[in-house]
Symmetry: D2
Subunit: 384 residues, 4 copies
């Protein structure tokens, strides 16, 4: 009798699998994105800007659905360019095909597919996504105002794409034009991409805060996502977290209309303090909520982070009788040690302390990290 049976049998399992007759993609697995639901809402992971062969992308619409499923998205909108179809000599220019070709697979996989198109004009006003309209072909219009009007007539949610893209702003700085004021005052422009692909636009971030616009982050992917993407961190595309009261296109639309979003970009979240604070609180768990400090001996606070985000904390003010690390990273899905030391002559007793930190990768404004407090109950004893 030999010992290696387990491995052999497992291996057979793996290799034989492809013979099951259910096709060659059946052994694909979805990686769920671990960011908690907050404030009574579902946290839906959405990418609302991408392309296919029906404009200047290089994949069939079904690829976008399969990619979205594998990467843990809840919803997607494929937004081919309304005014730009470089494959038109070989391929239909019916812009509704993008959605039609993808719909069955999205239904089979339980993904929310949202109709959309990209109104593609020179700056100003630049590129704008219109999502939710029934007929994208209607957006083919001579002047940009008519194109946007056709979208609004179909109750589209309209947002401005990559305002600092160097294809339209050589220095990479986003600029606000009178045309954007016009769109804003008409109540047409509802959001801006604060993040597009691998770019972050601090100006757009500030405009969203100042003008109460919805913040979006999208991939704008053209090629197969694994082919083009040099993920910083390697694990996810940029996306918009949408806080919806139901898992549906309607739930997403309502949330977008009410600015209930956070942008997930590399290892950073960008959004309003109330959302970021809720995500942080729901993510971490203090495993040792009570510690004993004796003399100058250190005690170790252990914190587990249930989310995909590795929170980078920087001390934001000290405490009188206790020292704690200037910097600490709460690694995603890991437990870390946060050592604490009492500093000498403290009266015996039991105290609840809050260690003040800023989270440098939770952005409530350009360059401004969220303030948090890490609580711990400390029992001070005398030194031995």
């Amino acid at each position: 009798m030999k010992r290696q049976k387990i491995s052999v049998i497992l291996m057979l399992g793996l290799v034989l699998f492809s013979q099951s007759g259910f096709g060659r993609t059946a052994n694909q697995a979805r990686r769920e994105i671990q960011i908690p639901d907050i404030l009574g809402y579902f946290t839906l992971k959405c990418d609302l800007h991408m392309h296919t062969v029906f404009s200047d992308g290089s994949v069939w619409p079904t690829v976008r659905v399969n990619e979205a499923w594998l990467e843990g998205l809840d919803a997607l909108s494929i937004t081919d360019h309304v005014e730009y179809q470089p494959h038109q000599d070989l391929l239909s220019t019916d812009l509704n095909q993008t959605y039609n070709q993808a719909k069955n697979l999205a239904d089979d996989l339980g993904l929310i597919l949202i109709r959309g198109g990209e109104i593609t004009r020179s700056m100003p006003p630049g590129h704008l996504n219109a999502i939710f309209p029934e007929d994208i072909n209607a957006l083919k219009q001579g002047d940009w105002r008519s194109a946007i009007q056709a979208a609004i007539d179909q109750d589209a949610f309209l947002f401005w794409n990559h305002p600092g893209w160097n294809g339209q702003q050589k220095d990479g700085v986003a600029r606000w034009y009178d045309e954007h004021t016009e769109l804003l005052e008409k109540g047409w422009l509802k959001g801006i991409e604060v993040v597009n692909y691998d770019e972050y636009y601090p100006e757009a971030h500030q405009w969203c805060l100042d003008k109460n616009l919805t913040m979006l982050g999208n991939s704008d992917v053209h090629d197969p996502i694994n082919l083009v993407w040099d993920f910083p961190g390697g694990e996810h595309r940029p996306m918009t977290l949408v806080f919806a009261n139901e898992k549906s296109a309607e739930g997403i639309e309502k949330a977008l209309q009410h600015q209930r979003t956070v942008v997930y970009y590399q290892d950073t979240l960008i959004g309003k303090a109330k959302f970021l604070d809720a995500i942080f609180s729901e993510s971490i768990e203090i495993l040792t909520p009570e510690l004993t400090l004796q003399g100058k001996k250190r005690a170790i606070l252990q914190i587990h982070n249930h989310s995909d985000i590795s929170y980078a904390l920087i001390q934001d003010g000290g405490l009188d009788n206790v020292s704690f690390p200037e910097r600490v990273t709460l690694n995603a899905h890991k437990t870390i040690q946060l050592p604490i030391k009492g500093e000498g002559n403290i009266p015996r007793g039991r105290y609840l302390i809050h260690m003040p930190y800023r989270v440098s990768n939770l952005w409530i404004g350009p360059g401004e990290g969220l303030k948090v407090n890490i609580p711990v109950t400390v029992e001070y004893l005398l030194a031995e």
Copy 2:
């Protein structure tokens, strides 16, 4: 204004961290092992066999504690050889130092450290671990029966190590001797290592089933665990899952006395059906419990696996009116697609079906996988 601020600031955070003055290991992070609690017990992750410089290992006892914490263990026993100290010319031979040197760090980190020693004799009876005795030095005795008696006198839990180790059995086959019958009949021998390091012993597995002995799986690591280990799968050492009613040495002892263990070895669990079945059930979640089948169109059942174990399922019997994959792997922490097809003329209606599978890496006996049923409610419609 530039766009790359996030990354720069994050990078500063990471690099500056080491200046915090809390030492160079502060940025270590623990990977919690995700295997669910079951049947009202805590599932404690334990390694009850390892070595240090105090016998023929190559690390100081504190290393074993740090390793255990980083790898997500709840409890460990460092069991240096009672009869073998190759470093004796340079190092103390006080066998209680193994525990004493490790205890403070284990307490600081909240790990359960269990006293232990390895009685190291030629076969029979071979090597046996005695854990829980107060004084390991007392086990230094001339003959092996006296050594074991000294352990039993201190209420040790005694188990037989690596019964098929090729250092004592050239062909790697475990053999049962009269001496083991003697130990069993005296009520001294309570368990056997079914797994040691990278070896599995099917004979020992069967003995545990036949004689109601506790199954153990341990690392028996001598060098730094990352240095020697060629993890198949790369993620965890072999260990004993102990189902305890409290997180303490007492809880572990009681569970070991009552055979409440499962061995975690590579991507396989080995143990009694009731434990394996509970772990499987608590691990998986049917995300789409209701499906519609229309004609011969496939529908997709989605299953999420919350555990670290990738369950490998093989069809164990068919169903009359529905076909489903012969093999499917429920990847750890992933969601997979399990496509289902109706096979033609089925009466319309709503049915609860159970797809029969065997899990080839949940072993209820040597070579015998656990039977499970995957439930799904199906609505049959007529073909369009």
Copy 3:
């Protein structure tokens, strides 16, 4: 003055890169496949079977070129189905577009692009690839003999695809039909896919040996390769290694005509002994060609493997005076230790010994590993 400058500046470099105005795929990097040139030939890495939107694939032809470049291929043939264009309602059915759309990019990247098409018929004769013909549209013919004739008229190299594919052979067993004898006797059939996607066909392997046909291994990929591929080993698609006297389409054609190929499949090479032996010899380097053996003390032979293939060696016969490991894996791009021990009373002196092994993942026939000898010069000394 601070210490973390290096990292900050590097990070800026990485993030800023995407602003260079040279497009978003510029930071892609190619992984060269490390398998040595042999016997005076270039070892060209070729995939000669794949699909695009112009038949039932899901990507534009340029994607196949970018993928091939990134994965280290030297040559590719995109072989859309001649008889099957599911996107025909929306897309041109001109079969030469597959090549035409990909050609410019292939030229820019220095890849050899070979025209091709897949004649797609029921079994027999099944699916056959015709590569090198000028006009693929000419292969659209009513009966399969006319289609093949049209390919042969254009000097196509014809090979039989996936002979054991379960879409045409339910049990996965490849079968030889009279029609294949006909094709062989006419001199039309020149090769067979021994490997397709994740399948290996031992029957086809034997036919190639018996009938002197060219062995091929191809991906037959339909979706983006990273999306569908569950690489065993994770690093490369199946491919055909072609031993060519020049890096050109002509060089490849000539090599295919003369059966100068090896199939690279998972971590295995399949082909004639002379090619496999040459690859093995060119891959490994004995770093310590001379060893001293004294008494029964072990000495350590160190071997470096310069190739991507991890060779798995199994002892194939012993030696009189020296013992050496039963099994050893020469890990890709690593150096390993192969411990050797003298066995007692050996006359002093200097010997050249050859340790006989079989390489279990270099297949000279179905299930038959290549024999190799590992040489080492040994100086025997007396025990101290």
Copy 4:
């Protein structure tokens, strides 16, 4: 006949390996560090500062040898603290044991083991390593001058460790004291650690340039290296590259005496321009040394990097008639695309151009990247 035999047989090979009777670490593999030999010297990879249980480390000396072999080092010096043995109650304080316990294994594995000890004093002069002396016990002296004298009397090479360590400089800034001037003027101090563990000291870097001292980078590791190390980049410890005319302790000593070193730290090399320039030139290969530019069409220069270092290039001045990327990373062991465009009205002809870059991770001074030129021969044609 089934298809999956290859995988099964391979798996058997892997699992069975551990039964070979040659011990449990036999399947370890060494990763050779790929940095080229230069200027007629061997580039030896050395770590000259580390600890064991014989001072305040946590591993037996053999562990340091095994780690060094696995990580691709050529030479190591284990330098336990002369004045600090926290395990002295249990362990011998004979400081030569560090070397003696490791020597046999180093010889078996072909590694160069250099005797050494760390003279461990408060600042000034701080900690200094003395390597090469025969008897480390002789360095146990009351005052630091006597300790150093005892090292020098044995022809030690003396270097200053971690001059900015926050255990001795709270702000992390290295400071030069009169005592260092004294050591320098006596000709005793020969080098400084510019890098220690994860810290880089720009002040020390400058001192080495100004005073012609040897630059060193060492791990100073105390725990098992995989346990403590949070490798930025994940692949190697900090080390000193020594350019030696022979692979021996003597070769290393001579090179150290003549400042022939470069520090390898994270993804950065630190040293004199002549060494860095040689390493860069030997690492990269222009795969397409001749390009054709036609009109404004881009051409693609392909560069392969044979080394482990990913070189980060930043444009350092433009060229009149051609544009090329502002930033490009030459990824380790990869081939990258460097797109080039002609800018309009260029006279037809053939030119050799040099694209000026700075390599931001090859440091010839604090914050100062090496200047390099990427050559390419360009054939200008007229636009079509």
